[in-house]
């Protein structure tokens, strides 16, 4: 154990084998990791209600099953994102209670049902093709113990659908907005609510959408001041940030 070498120093000081000066001197040359353990405890406290997260893309079913199984030995929730049916089948054999959230392309094991959030997180998406990203945000926020409401298919070209649901938006403590193509929705939503908006550009679109670049640039330049942005298709990141905010 890392603390041992430090403990030993103190023992030697007590027994008079080392003067305090000598001990301080030796401490300077101890490898860093011996001193790092305090942080771990501190972090554990912070991590209450945080799921273990696995990025599924590019992993074989066998790899996924093995990782998932190992994580499942400890308590807490587990969330595998960008996961497919084959990976789920492999996991299911080892961890019977795992579930597949198809729309979100996520595998979850939910054991901690506690609500860690103080309000509702709203997840808005522009088109039906944005739903997988939006659902990834939803499942992430849920695995972190939040109430989530979603509002899909409310693109800016049919602004009345968005306005008709404004009540639901204004109830939210944080809003996540997923949009591809021109990525204009976060600006409009941002103007309707007084809370933080997390914008997720999606790779939905073609041609000059350039796989989400147009939406990303649009969101970075939002004329609404309450908007900040995560990576293209990063529903997980948006759900994670929103959940952190909702805990405050």
């Amino acid at each position: 154990m890392n603390a041992e070498s430090i403990r030993k120093l103190f023992d030697q000081v007590r027994s008079g084998k080392l003067s305090p000066d000598e001990a301080v001197d030796r401490l300077r040359h101890l490898p860093f990791e011996d001193l790092g353990f305090a942080k771990v405890d501190h972090h554990r406290a912070l991590r209450n209600g945080m799921p273990e997260v696995v990025f599924g893309q590019g992993k074989t079913p066998a790899q996924m099953a093995s990782i998932f199984y190992r994580l499942a030995k400890h308590g807490g929730n587990i969330l595998a994102t960008r996961a497919n049916q084959d990976q789920f089948a492999a996991i299911k054999k080892k961890v019977a209670k795992a579930e597949y959230r198809e729309l979100a392309r996520a595998i979850v094991l939910q054991r901690d049902q506690k609500n860690y959030g103080k309000g509702v997180i709203a997840v808005v998406s522009a088109g039906t093709s944005d739903i997988p990203v939006a659902e990834e945000a939803v499942v992430t926020a849920e695995m972190m113990g939040n109430d989530v409401e979603h509002l899909y298919d409310v693109g800016v070209a049919g602004i009345h659908r968005l306005l008709a649901n404004r009540a639901s938006l204004t109830r939210a403590r944080v809003v996540i907005v997923c949009a591809g193509m021109e990525g204009a929705l976060p600006s409009v939503v941002g103007g309707l609510v007084g809370v933080p908006v997390i914008a997720v550009p999606t790779s939905v679109g073609y041609g000059a959408a350039f796989k989400g670049l147009a939406a990303l640039l649009g969101m970075m330049n939002s004329c609404a001041s309450n908007v900040s942005v995560v990576n293209i298709d990063n529903g997980f990141g948006a759900g994670y940030v929103a959940a952190l905010i909702n805990r405050l």
Copy 2:
């Protein structure tokens, strides 16, 4: 005159100096421009009410004055875009009736007051910094004989200002929308009206606006089907296209 050489051919054929075969043969070797004149007339007909246009940027006051003076000898309106006060001062000395439209950075000489448009063109802009581009569109459409209404400072983050003026939008036969930053406004406007929308990305913004690129990409990917786009800051082009549509 170009037609002369052709006329001469026919004369020679009539007088028997040339056989028809010889004439056809000679015709093959006449320079192209001799045959092109029909097009000119045809074009003149089309061009009724079209202003002569000068792009002012990068020209000296002396150059501008000389060009403007020469154009002013013929009838019709004259429009100098991207023009400054110095250029105007130089022009004013030679063409006393020229006016400076400061907001639009345009110098105009309006002699043809006829209304060539069949309805109203609405010009919408997102922020106050977009106004010079919007005004360039306005003055272009006006010089081409159109009724123009403008609706400024109606950005998407304050969507209620746009909606509050929906009536004015729905009156229009064509709508021009100028917006910088994320360039989201044309999508929203496009969803509110059933007529063609000409979108003009502006170079307003900073950072990831990349001098209008973000707005341009956003508009190219508009989820509203009735939107087409012109170059960054090209208020003239938008006004021109809108005027052509309004004549139909």
Copy 3:
């Protein structure tokens, strides 16, 4: 029904249960959607002759068949773009009168044969590879009730083929021009006609064509003033905008 809650307010005012002041006050807190219904009617009027549109790409045959079948219950035309043979086979079983326009990669159900346009829309394309995009524009304009003429394979490097067909161009009330590679054709066409030109960059080309970016930039910078641009490969958008213009 949404209007009910407002109706109720009026009833209460009439019966004296609420003073007008109280009623105004309550109105302030009604959810927005109760007030939005007027717009729907207004829109319905505008939408005469508009087809229902489905974006086929990425949808399963089953999904397509189900969406198409549902839309087919109402009147009007249906247009599914970016659709393939498998999707058509699935739709055909449910909607026997659906047709597949192979060149355009579109599935249509045409029930409204009325001509809503006032003139002819010309669709021009540069190379044979641009034809699918051009045909998407054609079928869109046709489903919206327009006469369409097409003029294919008239690239700028063989300018005489374009000039030889100028007559057909000058007959048109709106012109759509599809071109990949350098995207120069809209400028040339724009110079030959006096009506609006809708330019569609296509992803045809290789290397520095960058999947349509070169054509897109070229068209944005067109030296012809009557050109506006839609997204790369967006034949639908061009057809839609052209149809709107042709109705005016």
Copy 4:
């Protein structure tokens, strides 16, 4: 006043001049703005403690003074960003209590001293050249009623300076991180804290920094899950989002 026309409807219903059915019918055709006032009130409630904001860049001293003077007539704080000494001199003559925050390039008028935040906002910056952006975030958060701590010149290449100040970071309820060049600092900070991190790419750097693009892309791809990003040099946006979070 907008509400008048609605009020009038209710009066007419009460007096029996209109039946409730007729009133509902008329309401459908009232222009939108008559109904929009409720939102304003609602927004005013949300806006407690929000400063009026002016973007100074590109405005003349006279324009700035005039805008600032007008805003100063109402209560609340005023914040002018991207402002210079000349603009301040002009404002100072009209609004004697205005102050210039030189590092932040901001002019402020602070009249509402109330603390609207529930904790501390930490503002971290990588290099001394990032300080103007960081200070813009600081002054924004302060004008919105927050306690702000700053931690400057803690770039990732000297990670020990950052670690030595970890205590201060872990105290914060929200952290803003400003960094140019490779934009790596938010990831490192994100790993050290359990709260939301707002990352601000700055245009500091040269060559392949491409005026903030490298930092922007770096931050979008942060491997820390608690990071979201605002526009290049957008200290204001970061301060605004952080203040909103700190109110929750």
Copy 5:
């Protein structure tokens, strides 16, 4: 025949049925193509030794066979670029003398063996992966009647291999240089010869090669003054331009 209608005009003038004035007037309204025939003849003369060219990529074997067969009915060479074995098999059945140049991915039918070039064209390539592009240039130049020498695998990092073959380079009347990755070879070759160098960036490379963009930019900025550039992987274009130069 197009000239007929013009001939008829002359006949009518000679016979007195039309006055010269009337004839000129009618000429104005003749469709353009009637006047264009001279150009065709002129072009035919220019086109001696020019192969018919088909771009194979994306075409089915059946389409290729049909096009190739039709072209084969006339004299002259035929060149199908970006062609595969399946396309060749289909063509072979219809045009027995067609050959497949595997390295060049080209199908050729060579019937005109005449040498139209005045000197030798040298084709240089940097790496073995650039050979398909280089061979496309070779076969193009050969089909246009040129002597071609090739010099492969002489990348700039082993400059001695290039220098050792300088003699062969200095014999050439035009030099084509194909290179991917950093695209530096044309500059080096350009400095060694006093004749025009046609540079072809190839998509060879990975990572920051960005599918030929790095090589393209490198070549555009060549410090050798005798270098001009064609599109990425455009071996055909380089061979074509070189052949035109070699005919002069």
Copy 6:
């Protein structure tokens, strides 16, 4: 002189001071430059009629005068490109016969009047703003001993002006085409002539022209097979390549 050390080796072998084996061995260790001299002579032969070239941009008048004066001591023409009036004034004092070609921004000293070209080089430009680039090409070709014809302001949107001058184009042995904005002109010209076309993208334009990038990409993707491209605004390079071709 470099050859001396080698000559010495042979002398020592003849005199028996060195065996052939020893001589070969020493040769291996001679510095490279001793062997390089043949190339110099060879190059001098090639360089007949080549001007000395100075790139003026960024150099002080004093530096320019000094360089120009030194070059003027030898025979042959001198060409300073991107040069301004101040530089010319400084040069004029030292080299009285130097001339300033204002449109081309070039300073020349022409002493070799010999015609090295075999035909005419045509220089075409799209707009008046492209003239400086076109003139740089003209003056370069002239300094290299060529007959040059220019044809300005023949943009593709007014295709008839280009066609009217086709005769002049078809006389040329090489054609240079300068165009900014969408850069479409080389494709059109390329389709009209059967000789090599050197395309020069110019930085003329604004917005999505991106300082010549749009024109560059357009020209790289030209659908005319006889087009190759030089750097943005590189009139010198185009003139140089054209002159080399015209010598062949």
Copy 7:
């Protein structure tokens, strides 16, 4: 042998068949390669311990086996990068001692076990997905005779893992750092060590990672002065440069 022709010259001079002047003259016209041999020897000396390297990607198993077999005839190590199992199977049949390093996707034949390096090369990677690139660096350095230590999965968002292993880093004479996404790790490592750091951006990531571009730009702008960068995913290059440094 190349030196022969030179040797012959010396023989002829000694025997008086050639005067030294004639010999020098002939030497001028000898092909270059006859003179280049000194360099070869010189290079061979430098190349001690250098493996022969084959880039496997895109080569067929048969091609790979044939190349590998030919290289195996000479002594020294052989390294095939970007190689797959099929290629290995083919090689294994011909060269029984070849081994497949699966993680590195490399095939090696190690015959020279000598240690050419003077210290340890440390290879650090940020995430598990970066391991293939890191392992390519490892195997390259090993084939060039170096002791290599690796330190994986020490991303910047968990900076304590990196710090805990600082001892191992500070032992290294050169450090290679592989990272995708934001590419921040080299800056942090650079700040912890006083030796050269070779940074390798990897294509790991999605969305705005743009296949390694974000990491590449990040590393180019590293605020640590001891960082230089190789191409995206270029583990081989990093290993090669590190090995060269470690030999010094």
Copy 8:
């Protein structure tokens, strides 16, 4: 002092006031910075011969003088990069021995003359415009105690000049290569030497050079395996890395 609190712990343990267990426990909660001091000493050892470095760009003369003066109080060399004459004048008044290296745009104070390098560093540049960057590398390496040779104006288009100086290159222990435009020089140099090459893209060039981007991409894709790259115009970084290598 930070170490005090730790020292106090040991004192308390020795005096029996704390048990070793209690001391370890308290240590866990001490703020991190108390433990960080060891690293400082360690670093100081590493930093022998390292200059203090100031980035001059954007700093006022007064700021520069003040920073420089403060640094000058300690021993060792000082290097201010991107510095101008005005800054130097201000510094000179306070630190009389400071010198201005004009070509390098650097201000230096050299007090440590010791040679820390084991061999020669060669600095190569392509054109005269690259010299400022090259000189920045030279002065950096010199301030870090190295022998530096430079070799300027040896661009790839005149490869013989480079080859003629190969001897000087092969003497070097590390080579720095600065080049703008196409950035091809590092590849050529890399092929000529067997030591590490540090490539510095410069912003020299115009048009498609895109301020160094073309050179940067070219160098990243170098076909020479011994090349690594630093930021555009980053002569300092190259000199720094080379000096670190030369110390090994």
